[in-house]
Symmetry: C2
Subunit: 337 residues, 2 copies
DNA sequence: CTCAAAATTTCAACCGATTGCAATTGTTTT
DNA sequence: AAAACAATTGCAATCGGTTGAAATTTTGAG
């Protein structure tokens, strides 16, 4: 990088001290109008920009947020990043993005990276592998505000922002039942993730409400396209095949639709399918997928707003009370049901 | 943030000077083994981590890269970010992400933000609106290495990484012709973007090769789902409708397939469609979309590698020769042709 | 036991900006 | 004209770490 114009350059050229220049630039009342204009003029002329790093050092703040996320290449997460970046941008914060790639080990390294980079706060959605949360506890111990979103845990004293997974699942399954389904399968996420548990429990309670017995053999762990495709093939070949599917995400739901087509089973006539995410893809496939919108953009926005709020009132650390923000979901009905 | 352990804390506790501690921590030969181990031990005990900001200030380097991108919420770009983050991670760099949201004005602000944040280098794919490139020139004037990817320009002396758009388009249209199409429409991107021009020219030359006259009325500006859907409806209703489509991206291609279905036109029997991107969605729709894979992940990797190379040999600034790296594309044939 | 060489440690400046306090200049009052 | 006061400006420390050069201590040879 080229030599950047510093306050010292301006001071020298005008025969002033750096302190005077500094004060002149920020309209300190002590400075005479004459020198103030002179300083500002020259600063403009030379294209002076304050050195953020020097300010970071002095203020012990970087105006930067860390974002630790499993995979960027996933509609839901990219929507969240979008929401986060939007809020950060409006509040003059920058965002550093770190991917864990669903790897616990890499996630630990990511937490070290955010510490090293001295970010002011961190937004986290942890990996599927993560069981131990001590690396996040280390952030909290350093009094770096952390907000968890989507993938959250009760093990830590930290803010959370989640979609209303239980409500979404309940809506979805209720909808299937009202459409006439009686034998509804659930393609679930790992039960180590809160979203896995909540969505299963919404599924369970919706069945209960309509007096349909809960049948564990209809619940399968399948939260990716590949696993879901395989599982759907198996379960659809059984003699007593399901007449409805509630999938934990859109990719799994789409895999089910594809599997059904391959087996000559009609959607929605023979089998109805509901996904969770309301991704772009859900409107592209045929039939279009009924899905629970979990408003990733809003979720990201809320998470970032909450974090910025924490950064503002960071004084009352002693009486810290974690907040759990729940974003309502919405069922978007399309051709697959 | 809590008080962080500094080199001074260690120095005080051991009755040493900060310089000794500093040198001890980095195995300077001047330091006696005794003090070295003592310092390292205490540092480990207290959980000392060097303050990156202080180092940034001294070294005038942040080990941070800036990334300016139109929209994260787009498969191709998120794949690119993935590739960039991967390379940055392996080389111990962090990535700051800024979205322009396809807005020129916001993009200008983004370039200011990367300047303010004193990133070591910048990766850019500019917005559709951008005609004037002086904000990027300002980065170059500040001798901040800039690498453009996907959306590039010849107006600036800067490195570029692009997919082989011409080749990809040629492959696609050639494929359509070999499959029997004679009246091929092209849904194009704005001709202000190099990708728009290159893909059109590949389309043009493939027609030429097979002796099919170029017909401007078959070229339509339509690079989003909505515009393409509308345009497809219009063109498919004409008496002399096309028998093949080459779309500038997958979203447009999928819109064409949907429009055809709505009009009762069969794909691929009546009309064949090829997209560009090979996004996840292309394998989800029915029929699956034939598409040109532009390897977003690799493109991001290459762009980042090129930038890091520039950062390494930043000495020979005088004899700067911009590099243009072209990533070969590949036609992935599926059910839509 | 002395003195120089070697080993070890400290001093001080620096990166760029901020800020309390001291110092300088200019103005007014008596 | 001197004292008192206000208006400006400069000094120096600070943030945390690095590094050339100086200062100190240790070691070993004569």
């Amino acid at each position: 990088m080229k030599h950047q114009i510093t306050i010292k350059d301006i001071a020298n050229k005008l025969g002033l001290s750096t302190s005077t220049v500094s004060r002149a630039l920020k309209d300190h009342p002590d400075i005479s109008p004459k020198t103030r204009t002179a300083v500002k003029e020259l600063a403009g002329l030379l294209g002076y920009r304050p050195n953020r790093i020097a300010l970071n050092l002095r203020n012990n703040s970087t105006r930067t947020l860390g974002l630790i996320i499993p995979e960027i290449e996933h509609y839901f997460f990219s929507a969240i990043i979008n929401g986060i970046e939007e809020v950060a941008y409006k509040n003059d914060y920058s965002v550093m993005v770190f991917q864990s790639n669903e790897s616990y080990k890499r996630e630990v390294i990511n937490t070290q990276a955010v510490l090293t980079n001295r970010v002011d706060g961190v937004l986290v959605s942890f990996s599927k592998e993560t069981r131990d949360f001590s690396h996040f506890q280390r952030l909290i111990d350093n009094e770096i505000p952390v907000v968890f979103f989507d993938r959250v845990t009760e093990e830590l004293q930290a803010d959370q922002v989640v979609a209303d997974d239980y409500q979404g699942a309940f809506l979805a399954v209720n909808h299937l039942i009202e459409k006439g389904c009686r034998r509804i399968a659930h393609f679930a996420a790992p039960q180590t993730l809160t979203i896995g548990k909540s969505r299963l429990s919404g599924y369970h309670d919706a069945l209960l409400k309509h007096g349909i017995p809960y049948n564990p053999s209809l619940v399968v762990l399948a939260d990716t396209f590949e696993t879901a495709k395989k599982a759907a093939h198996e379960i659809l070949r059984k003699t007593e095949r399901p007449d409805g599917f509630f999938a934990v995400n859109d990719m799994s739901a789409i895999a089910i639709i594809k599997a059904a087509r391959e087996l000559g089973i009609r959607v929605p006539d023979d089998v109805k399918v509901v996904g969770f995410e309301n991704s772009k893809s859900s409107a592209l496939i045929e039939p279009e997928l009924t899905s629970v919108d979990q408003f990733g953009f809003e979720l990201g926005r809320e998470a970032c707003l909450l974090l910025l709020k924490r950064l503002k009132d960071d004084d009352d650390v002693s009486e810290f009370k974690p907040v759990k923000k729940v974003i309502k979901t919405k069922l978007v009905v399309r051709g697959s049901t």
